[in-house]
Symmetry: C2
Subunit: 176 residues, 2 copies
């Protein structure tokens, strides 16, 4: 359901605030396995997290990272791919605990794929719910901005009645 429009949606999202289509083409043109092994600093920069966080993820069992002769971490393509996945899931609000569960399933082998799929399906629904919540909160915030006023209670503003009505409606929606 709604899968083959992924690209169009990603591109649409890109189109929102500028014209970074160059990057997209670059990404598309980049051969899949080109990436060289990275140091922790490079990986951190690439993933936009701190080296501390990468060590934390490793300690948490989310990713295995090999060492070079000096004992320094080496992030190869596989590790980076997994970390891209992990950081994206974190960004979308999946708890570290769930990610631990997920990667344990991945490491357990192919027969766990149905369970992994379930996790993703549930997570998808969670994201959708969150987007709906935020969309409503956004509407409420924009309404508040428009009628500004700015009362949160005691001080009744001039347009009190419609404001309260809208609040109640949004309240109903929120508690769905």
């Amino acid at each position: 359901m709604a899968t083959d429009d992924l690209m169009s949606r990603a591109l649409a999202a890109l189109g929102d605030d500028g014209a970074p289509s160059v990057e997209v083409i670059q990404a598309l043109a980049d051969p899949a396995g080109t990436s060289e092994p990275m140091t922790i600093a490079e990986a951190a920069a690439h993933l936009d997290v701190s080296p501390h966080t990468l060590r934390y993820y490793e300690r948490a069992g989310l990713v295995a990272v090999s060492r070079d002769a000096a004992g320094h971490r080496v992030y190869d393509a596989d590790a980076v791919r997994r970390l891209v996945f992990l950081t994206r899931m974190r960004l979308s609000g999946m708890p570290v605990r769930d990610l631990q569960h997920y990667v344990s399933l991945v490491d357990a082998g192919k027969q766990t794929e149905p369970e992994r799929l379930d996790i993703l399906l549930e997570h998808r629904d969670t994201i959708r719910r969150r987007i709906r919540e935020l969309t409503l909160s956004l509407a409420a915030t924009e309404y508040k901005i428009a009628t500004y006023g700015g009362s949160t209670g005691p001080d009744v503003d001039s347009a009190a009645a419609p404001n309260v009505v809208a609040d109640d409606v949004l309240d109903q929606v929120h508690r769905r």
Copy 2:
């Protein structure tokens, strides 16, 4: 900007999963100031938080609540209105710290309205950013579901090449 379509959007959101328009009409019909003073348990149920949380908000200086003869909290319409605002803002991700700042401005008087408006405008942008992030994460998750595979790294799946390309595209989008 984009303010007068609040109602239509709220209603559209409602229309998504059923036919709860009865509640909307109910909410619209409900006279603004009808609500009776509540106990902490009633207020908590109404706001869908725990009594503990309400006491915490009060301790944090977010809302003033009077007491009855027995020393029990009495949530009047003003307090409830403020708490509706507070819980909605919390739900939309505004930190308690920012809410403390905001209510201190409200309590400081009308001349702080411009600053309050600034806070709301910034928060609106924050929500918008978050929605964009989540929309992308949703697309990525749906893509992963569609191509399932479920690899996060080491085990290369059959459709590896397009998967990686999509990952990289979304990666570019994410780091905008």
